[in-house]
Amino acid sequence: MENLIALLVAAPLLGAAVLLCGGRRLDRSGHWIGTLLAAASFVIGAVLFTDMLGKGADDRALHQKLFSWIPVEGFQADVAFQLDQLSMTFVLLITGVGTLIHIYSIGYMEHDERRRRFFGFLNLFLAAMLLLVLADNYLLLYAGWEGVGLASYLLIGFWQHKPSAATAAKKAFLVNRVGDIGLSIAIMLMFTTFGTFAFGPVLGATGDASEGKLTAIGLMLLLAACGKSAQVPLQSWLGDAMEGPTPVSALIHAATMVTAGVYLIVRSGVIFNAAPDAQLVVAIVGAVTLLFGAIVGCAKDDIKKALAGSTMSQIGYMVLAAGLGPIGYVFAIMHLVTHGFFKAGLFLGAGSVMHGMNDEVDMRRYGGLRTYMPVTFVTFGLGYLAIIGFPGLSGFFSKDKIIEAAFAKGGTEGWILGSVALLGAAITAFYMTRVMLMTFFGQKRWQPDAEGREPHPHESPKSMTIPMIVLAFGSVFAGGFFSIGDRFLHWLEPVTGHDHGDAPISATTVTAATMVVLVIGVAVAWSVYGRKPVPAVAPRGSLLTRAARRDLLQDDFNHVVLVRGGEHLTRSLVYVDHTLVDGVVNGTAASMGGLSGRLRKLQNGYARTYAVSMFGGTAVLIAATLLMRAV
């Protein structure tokens, strides 16, 4: 069974290689090759999963060493895989949702002449992400990590003829680099502390290291997670990443990329457990991002950007849960999986709406689409109910658990984190209801596009609706399936550990409070966007709204602090270079030149001058010799 693990990564990697090197002769069949190989990876994952279910909880982890990567004395890096319950969860999510997105893309990218290349990139994305979650050491994880960064760059900038897409891809890549520095420093710290970076030895030896070192490693890992998972302060790339084709957004937000940070934190849980300060920072980052994303999501009129804000906020929930320690690890991953279902469904639904509306993304020009796109409406609606935490649907179970866990953290921190999570639930209900109402309800606000084409909303082809229906099933039932009998908890507990914490208030109270804020959020959204017609041009809005439309001034902040600051730093360095460094260098050169000019006069070319110096020198030597003799 172990030997199958490498095939999980190899199948999509083969797909990427074939599609990207195969050339135009694969244009007609490329998308099928890509989809088949993604599905093959899913089937292998399912086989491994059933095999794993047949074993006892403690010997489920599988290892496969492929080859020695960098065998140097004192530095051993292997290409080796580890498949335990945590990796298995990710494998199924990545390949399952990934395959559905492949199928969806067949229809969505039908008219794009570079569709073959698109599927090649999608396969590359899956392969990199699988490598990331299957690696059994941090160095190989880093390789997958970079692969994910590369694939996201290629896909966000897939429509590179649009300058905005090219810029967005560059931005995502650069912001991710900042996080990558954190991961590389963390790996170096691990190597100096533990002498290795394989999961087993590092995570088994945390007791031997000082808390200061573990805190440093933890904070660097958090920086890495912030970059990939779009957490404050490295969140700015996520909104712009919507420039990519919609299936890419679904893939980035649901199955790959942004989940990598959560995986990293949960996988390194032992380190964070031993470094409470770093763990608290993780929880704070999660809580801040949770509100940040939610507020941004409230103000955006672009349907994809509203959903992007929502992703940021939901990942914030996961990071918050991961920052709670053993109380929250399991729930972070559970929310990640359920989120994978409903967020992929929502994005594919948004793509379906855009497909029917001439690629219009402004929700103020939608309205009343529920009768024109019934399947999209129902699947999107189920995703919507799941994300706001409607009782019985997936999001209800997973998000409720995180809020409970936040309160169970105990002390003042617990109250603050719990309240933030609760507030986030209210805002989530508000902005998702807003998206729903503006898109599918109210009166039609369609307008001809720039080329004067009247939109003719229509339902999307089967290849697009079937993945949406499958994901809608996941959005509805996954949470309940995981929660009944604490199935998911028992499944993941051997890897991540679990702790009930000491909740100051009962679970029932938390659930009731969540329901209350849910109703308030929906009601407020209804009173603003449901009762009254939605204006087709956005009103000026309050100061907060305007700031939120500009992503809470994230780019302005980056521009002022980083870009301007960098410019000033550069200028002052150039000044120092010109005056100080060049002064010393040029001064030395000039004084040497002057000295040489004077010394040159000694060489006048007259033979007798040289003769005099020879005689003089000889006389001096003889005099010195005689003098020494005399003494």
Partner: protein
């Protein structure tokens, strides 16, 4: 006869030769002055050989003559070709290498 007188004569000859090298411009004269200095040295060597009663100085004087003969061959050749190309045997004219 006191051998020291030979040394005085040698010193005188050497001084005349050195002054000639430093003062005269004609390459042939400079050359002859160098020969004078060499012979003054030879005279010193032979005198000291006589004073100390061994042959080292005389042998060294033969070496000097052989080297001087070789030097004359090369030196005169240079002077002749210099004169042919520049129609002058002045050593001051041969200062083209200076900046």
């Amino acid at each position: 006869m006191n051998p020291v007188n030979y040394l005085y004569l040698a010193a005188l000859l050497f001084t005349i030769g050195a002054s000639g090298v430093l003062i005269r411009r004609n390459a042939i004269v400079v050359f002859m002055c160098i020969e004078l200095m060499l012979n003054a040295c030879n005279l010193t060597l032979v005198t000291f050989s006589r004073m100390h009663g061994n042959l080292d100085g005389q042998i060294l004087a033969f070496f000097t003559m052989v080297v001087a003969a070789a030097e004359v061959v090369v030196g005169l050749a240079i002077i002749v070709s210099l004169f042919r190309s520049r129609h002058s045997a002045s050593v001051d004219d041969a200062s083209l290498m200076k900046l």
